[in-house]
Symmetry: C2
Subunit: 341 residues, 2 copies
Amino acid sequence: MDHSKEITIYDIAKNLNVSPSTVSRALKDDPTVSKKTRKKIFETAAQMGYRSNPFAKNLRQQQSLTIGVIVSDLDSPFISSVVSGIEKAAGEAGYGIIITDSSQSAVKEAANAQNLFHRRVDGMIASLAPDTKDLAHFSPFVEKNIPVIFLDRTSEMAESTSVVIDNMQTGYMATKHLIGQGCRRIAHVTSDLQHNIYALRYKGYRDALAESKLPFEESLLVIAEPTEEASEAAAKKLMGLKPMPDGVFVTNDFAAAVCIRTFLEQGVRVPKDIAVVGFNNEVIGRLIKPTLTTVNYPGREMGEAAARSLVNHLKGAGNIGSISTMTIRAELIVRQSSLKK
Amino acid sequence: MDHSKEITIYDIAKNLNVSPSTVSRALKDDPTVSKKTRKKIFETAAQMGYRSNPFAKNLRQQQSLTIGVIVSDLDSPFISSVVSGIEKAAGEAGYGIIITDSSQSAVKEAANAQNLFHRRVDGMIASLAPDTKDLAHFSPFVEKNIPVIFLDRTSEMAESTSVVIDNMQTGYMATKHLIGQGCRRIAHVTSDLQHNIYALRYKGYRDALAESKLPFEESLLVIAEPTEEASEAAAKKLMGLKPMPDGVFVTNDFAAAVCIRTFLEQGVRVPKDIAVVGFNNEVIGRLIKPTLTTVNYPGREMGEAAARSLVNHLKGAGNIGSISTMTIRAELIVRQSSLKK
DNA sequence: GTGAAAGCGCTAACAA
DNA sequence: TTGTTAGCGCTTTCAC
């Protein structure tokens, strides 16, 4: 397509009356090349407008300096902060990232995995789709010894490195906080418990209740996808319970915000009648009234941690699976929506 | 690193007693290869676990099937929806995307451009950093005839294809709406007017005022970056004006939300005392009280449009610059914050 | 319908 | 310190 010819190391070599290998070496700042020639080569390279050809390099070295990323929904605040962290850490290490979005579909996830496999990424970071059941689409990577790091949404099956937060701990922490505020009848609005991140948060919630000898009934557990409609329905369901719960732990900020809005519309006061804790520390939490107590889920840090660990591994530390799970600290951010005292 | 050997077309060829060229042809479904051998080759390729080597292919064909993307802040709702649109359209056309984030810095943007240039992307999509003044870092692409599409944040200097919304029109539309609601003294909170997207919205605002013969004074124009502090300060500034404005057009939803919160805290009623229109249609707009009237800025569509147009061009339609600007329709979403009637 | 052979640009033995 | 050479895996012209 472009007709301005590409400069190669051969052109530089000819121009300077040295051999291509010398140029190649010089360009890598190899000290076996004399300082003087190195300098000369650098200069003419720049002046001739040389750019190295990564394809030739990759072909030779069998590596792409590229990391494949699969996420479930790029267009979400949490994921985009994760990706931004990955991009940062990978970029600093000289790696590029190829991003694919599974749109929450296991089928598309598998297609993306295949695609990235064929593009010969050096490593993978994946956040699984909600409905991903088996990990067969990652086995080509395993066979070829291409490291895969799972992030946030992992699978128990995965015998691999993953970066997660301590979901159980966060569930426990959030519930404990509500108990500390005097709540005695605490509900839990969450998503599909098949998924381990939700199952673990649920377990933390139950543990906290049990520890404080507070009762649990099935009706206090509401499963609702974090859509506007479902969250509104969930809130109404809670209001219908007798007696009404005096606290609720919602595993998503957006859903929590919708719940609060619904409560207020019906004259239920927050936090006085019902205290609310959300999850994710999204920006909305600071803007609604009352401001939202939430769990800060450090997406950026998680992305950075995943990428850094992948790169370290790639750069030949070589100790596969030396760490199998990295747990990033999540913290409770207390705001108005949960403060009864 | 991986010891399980890679299968090449030579292995397949040997296995089947045909020549590598036949295999190469067959794998591309070239009809000059007999149907029978084609089928056999496909089967053994699959069975042997062959994957084509994109580096060799790229080296031969001088193209990477990759699009470089530069954004100013990946971790923002608008940008992430843009990227998600790019990913979708590019992926459908068989292109991968390499994403880089300039963190709003012109310097980093230039570094990213260089990086992508060296990675030999086939095309580029860029959303400029706020402080990017000159476009020198894109000239290597121009010289090599690599198409660059600018998105959203463009530059007048750019003699290239760009995808934008009609910013002037949105400014006009938003202001006109406020006028229609009976506002007579309308303020404008926006960012650095050096940047054309803000300059154009401002012009639209002024045009609407002029058309309705409404007065404008300098004090009605408040420049504030969309941070929490600056937006709060902006709101306070407006409340201090005498007489106080009865309407305000804020060029960012988050900033608008902070303004509303600040107004309400000081006992200023929205929309009764002051009507508010935001910009971007972010999710917060639906959750705050009152819900926020805003301009819907279709990030996903813009990303898709940019990628599709780039890919078309790449696939050899070849008509460089046949379209120089694609304008995507933006629309006003009316909610409570602006309804005086 | 199929094969032989050259070459894309680079790196890394090995030689000098 | 520098040069020679082979080869990474693929495509494509030209020949058969």
